[in-house]
């Protein structure tokens, strides 16, 4: 059978990530926290350095050579990112992160368009950033519908269908849960939303870094993500919005760089995308994210997805053999992104992550900015191992070994 992906040369890839080559507490670093933030390849770090060293200037303002170069690099990054997710360049708004992208939609679209009696639907598996903004609409009389999960950790699509009506104006849903790992059928959800005239906002923070994305195919109205989870620097993220929707939205930040003409008492706003980018943007961040996208495309998103799927399959297989360990979310790796959260006996996640740290293993513990989901699951905390294409099965083995050690220390 012909395979549609290439097996990655991880050993070679890891040489591009200098940070991975170090010891922590005397042990080789095993970095399993890429869902929090990914590591950065040297080429991304170099591109940022080079911008500051050789052509640092403000964008969209001056005609001198450095400014022209900086503007061209900044806009070139926007083109690369647009191309990466199948969007048009004017549909990509640079923001600082996923949270800011959602807030932009909240201020510029939801506050302007929603009224008492309207409904916003979200899910129990959202990151706080995709719940807290929508909760604020309740003071305007907007109702919040929250879709539950089934026992296998997948979204209850029947419940979603049941709550739909022409009162629903927005479905805000994560593409991939940062705790359960569940990949939601967002294309199907968008079709459902559009049938009722609602828009769909997809939180792509945990999906864009790990799988091929085509926003036109998904037919979502908004798609939001952060650069730092996909090899880029912190401080840069993107809002994708369909052009006809973005055009009708008012900016929520006012100031320089988002105007056409300013008179003493009135202003004409700039066209897309500048209308939503008031003030000097994170130029270095945008250029760095452009380089990250180049790197990811060079490796191939299909290859990355296949590599992580196999890692997760292996991790679930190995973790299932650890006594007292319970995996959170689907155990079928076909329904999952590249992360596995779990609990181990009565060991609190914070204690467990400290024991793992002593073995050089970096994982995240706590509620992962998903307190409603942890409440729903009856968990005070969980521990999450999250993978990227630079991780290996040997690292999964080290995780399992360290978990056995934790069982001994806690006398399980």
């Amino acid at each position: 059978m012909k395979t549609e992906f290439e097996v990655l040369n991880v050993e070679k890839i890891r040489r591009d990530f200098p940070i991975l080559n170090q010891t922590v507490n005397g042990k080789p670093l095993v970095y399993l926290d890429s869902s929090a933030t990914s590591q950065k390849p040297l080429c991304v770090i170099d591109v940022i350095n080079n911008y500051y060293k050789t052509y640092n200037a403000n964008v969209h303002r001056a005609a001198h050579r450095l400014a022209t170069e900086a503007t061209e690099a900044y806009e070139e990054s926007r083109r690369k990112i647009a191309n990466f997710i199948g969007a048009e360049q004017q549909e990509i708004i640079f923001v600082k992160n996923t949270t800011e992208a959602i807030n932009l939609v909240f201020y510029s679209w939801a506050l302007e368009n929603l009224k008492a009696g309207d409904v916003v639907v979200t899910t129990i598996m959202e990151h706080h950033s995709n719940i807290v903004p929508w909760q604020q609409l309740q003071s305007k009389g907007v109702k919040l519908g929250i879709i539950d999960i089934l026992t296998d950790g997948t979204l209850d699509l029947e419940q979603l269908k049941a709550v739909m009506s022409d009162k629903v104006k927005l479905i805000a849903v994560t593409h991939c849960s940062n705790v359960l790992g569940t990949i939601n059928p967002v294309k199907e959800i968008a079709q459902l939303a559009h049938k009722y005239g609602a828009l769909v906002l997809v939180d792509g923070a945990q999906s864009v870094p790990h799988m091929p994305i085509d926003v036109k195919d998904l037919d979502c109205d908004f798609f939001v993500f952060s650069g730092h989870k996909m090899l880029g620097p912190t401080g840069i993220g993107c809002l994708y919005g369909k052009e006809e929707i973005l055009k009708k939205m008012k900016p929520f930040m006012f100031g320089g760089d988002m105007i056409k003409e300013v008179h003493l008492r009135e202003t004409t706003f700039a066209d897309l995308p500048n209308k939503f980018e008031a003030g000097t943007p994170d130029i270095a961040g945008a250029i760095g994210l452009g380089a990250a996208v180049d790197y990811l495309q060079n490796i191939g998103m299909k290859n990355i997805y296949a590599h992580e799927k196999e890692l997760v399959r292996y991790a679930i297989e190995r973790l299932s053999q650890v006594k007292d360990l319970k995996i959170v979310g689907p155990t079928d790796s076909n329904k999952r992104g590249g992360l596995v959260a779990f609990t181990l006996g009565d060991i609190h996640g914070h204690d467990l992550s400290q024991i793992l740290d002593a073995e050089g293993i970096a994982v995240r513990a706590g509620h992962h900015c998903a307190m409603p989901l942890h409440e729903r699951l009856g968990l005070a905390s969980s521990t999450r191992a999250s993978f990227y294409f630079y991780n290996t099965k040997e690292e999964v083995d080290k995780l399992v070994e360290a978990l056995e050690k934790a069982r001994t220390i806690f006398k399980l």
Partner: protein, 136 residues
């Protein structure tokens, strides 16, 4: 940081905490969380004649925060509120008998913070009296 902090004593306090629960008629009730890791500690203190008659805690969290909370409730029984006000970070670390990294110090000191804010509120004192940065 190694794993020597999980001593038998700490694990015993974590699994079988003393004074776990609530006191309905406590004059001092205060609760706080450590948002970074989700530790929750609530302290109830019953006062009689300016002294602690009973103290209980409840909450959820890591072994360090829960053991520290339990040990603290034991240590303040019968003490005057002035004495309770003056319990220091070092006192708590002494009870735990372990050394902690800066990150885990927050876990260990959450119960003390909850207790002190509760006592200061009760006495009408100034929260500025929380004199170590970890408690603020």
């Amino acid at each position: 940081m190694d794993n020597e902090i999980y001593t038998d004593i700490i694990l015993d306090y974590y699994r079988h905490p003393k004074n776990f629960g609530k006191i309905e008629d406590a004059q001092i009730k205060f609760k706080d969380t450590n948002p970074m890791c989700g530790d929750i500690v609530e302290m109830c203190v019953k006062i009689n004649g300016g002294c602690v008659m009973d103290a209980k805690f409840c909450g959820k969290g890591c072994a360090i925060s829960q053991a520290a909370a339990s040990m603290l409730t034991e240590s303040i029984q019968g003490k005057s509120l002035d004495e309770v006000k003056n319990i220091s970070k070092e006192d708590v670390l002494g009870m735990l008998g372990i050394e902690l990294s800066a990150m885990r110090l927050k876990c260990a000191l959450l119960p003390l913070k909850v207790l002190k804010v509760g006592v200061l509120n009760f006495l009408g004192g100034n929260l500025e009296e929380l004199n170590t940065p970890e408690l603020k």
